[in-house]
């Protein structure tokens, strides 16, 4: 069975979302990074770099949240998250790398400023620079979404999931996506999916406990 190591507050949330979408049976092994649980020998045996998330599934041991989602989609989501046709599969790979290489540096840069710093400590110049860099990147996505509701066509796939979970950082860091109406509508459709609602519920629960 699929075991996901990490906290729902971390990038492991992306993998929980994917597992929920596929209705794949999984176990979440919660690691609290504030307690340094990801630096303990038991976890380092799974991921020597001590980063979250990781998964173990049979003899598969792997890291990198967006790559893990490609694995989950291929194993548990054939014909759904992982499209049946070669063309859709190519798009899923392309947009997974695009999310990592193009969107995440900007989105994570913004999230870090907003989430880990108090308002008066934030580097507003950096936030504005990242917002400027973000605009043409969102524009690339928006151009694709002019003709289809989801990236690969009419169906929600891994491409949407991996891009949406990074776009969430833009939204959480108060980047206004409304100037790109197609992207805004797409994001709303992705974020409103049951798989993601479940993740949000788990987050709210974790915040209550903390």
């Amino acid at each position: 069975m699929l075991k996901i190591y990490g906290s729902v507050m971390s990038r492991a949330s992306r993998n929980i979302w994917a597992a929920e979408e596929c209705a794949a049976p999984y176990e979440l092994v919660s690691l609290d990074f504030r307690k340094g649980e990801h630096k303990q020998p038991a976890y380092l045996a799974i991921n020597p770099a001590g980063k979250m998330p990781s998964i173990v599934d049979g003899d598969v041991v792997m890291a990198e949240s967006l790559a893990i989602n490609a694995f989950i989609a291929q194993k548990y989501g054939k014909g759904k998250l992982w499209p049946a046709d070669e063309k859709g599969q190519a798009k899923c790979l392309q947009w997974t790398l695009w999310a990592a290489a193009e969107l995440e540096p900007v989105a994570y840069g913004r999230l870090r400023e907003v989430l880990f710093k108090k308002e008066d400590e934030r580097d507003h110049k950096l936030l504005a620079e990242l917002a400027e860099r973000g605009k043409p990147i969102v524009g690339v996505l928006d151009a694709v979404l002019q003709t289809t509701p989801f990236i690969c066509g009419s169906q929600f796939t891994l491409a949407d999931l991996n891009v949406a979970c990074v776009m969430e950082y833009m939204v959480r860091s108060n980047f206004d996506i409304s100037p790109w109406p197609k992207t805004a509508a797409w994001y709303k459709a992705c974020a409103g999916r049951l798989g993601n609602m479940k993740v949000q519920e788990m987050r709210a629960q974790a915040m209550k406990v903390a």
Partner: protein, 206 residues
């Protein structure tokens, strides 16, 4: 047949390397972003973002160099670049994303400082910071290569190709890899492969 767009002296080299490893027939259209080829209407219908590389393979049109290599391996390299077995395949996807998220940002930062700037324009503070940010991923890579010959096991796969292609930015900017002996040996071995040598010759010829 795959048509690959982008000149060899760009990230297109990664895809040329993969195609050469497989020895499959392909068509190369060496569009040069410096000459504005990639902003022409002909290319923008393939990649509206106007970046290279891109590939066309029947009805598949795709961008993102490392993603394209997964596609090439997956569709044309089963048993070679795309290994048999779920565990090894998982490693290929993992290391591809790792190359993009962990290694490429500091590596491309170095390349910009060293290859696109004159000596007196270089930002030494940035170069030092990038060197620090390179050490962590190299520790991770070295640890993995102490455990196995190649990243997904005993065989050279797309995991090695994608990571080594990014490591090339480090060797090209004279980053000293000797503190990471396993990674150092592996980088030299990967980059010395005949398919990559052929790509290097294409870069020089252009």
């Amino acid at each position: 047949m795959i048509t690959l767009y982008g000149k060899a002296a760009s990230r297109t080299s990664r895809n040329l390397w993969a195609l050469e490893e497989l020895g499959i027939a392909y068509k190369h259209v060496p569009f040069d972003y410096l000459k504005g080829d990639t902003k022409m209407a002909e290319y923008l219908t393939i990649n509206p973002a106007g970046k290279v590389p891109a590939l066309v393979d029947d009805d598949v049109v795709m961008t993102e160099s490392l993603g394209m290599n997964l596609y090439i391996a997956h569709n044309y390299g089963i048993g070679t670049l795309w290994p048999e077995g779920k565990a090894a395949r998982a490693k290929c996807i993992q290391w591809t994303l790792w190359a993009a998220t962990e290694l490429e940002p500091p590596a491309v930062g170095r390349l910009i400082e060293f290859n696109f700037k004159k000596e007196h324009e270089r930002d030494q503070k940035n170069i030092d910071t990038l060197a620090e940010h390179t050490k962590w991923p190299l520790n991770t890579l070295d640890a993995a290569l102490q455990r196995s010959t190649y990243l997904a096991g005993a065989m050279f796969t797309i995991a090695d190709l994608n990571v080594a292609a990014v490591c090339e930015y480090l060797t090209r900017t004279k980053f000293d890899l000797t503190p990471w002996p396993a990674a150092n040996r592996w980088v030299s071995e990967c980059l010395a492969r005949p398919a990559n040598q052929k790509v290097n010759a294409m870069k020089m010829a252009a």
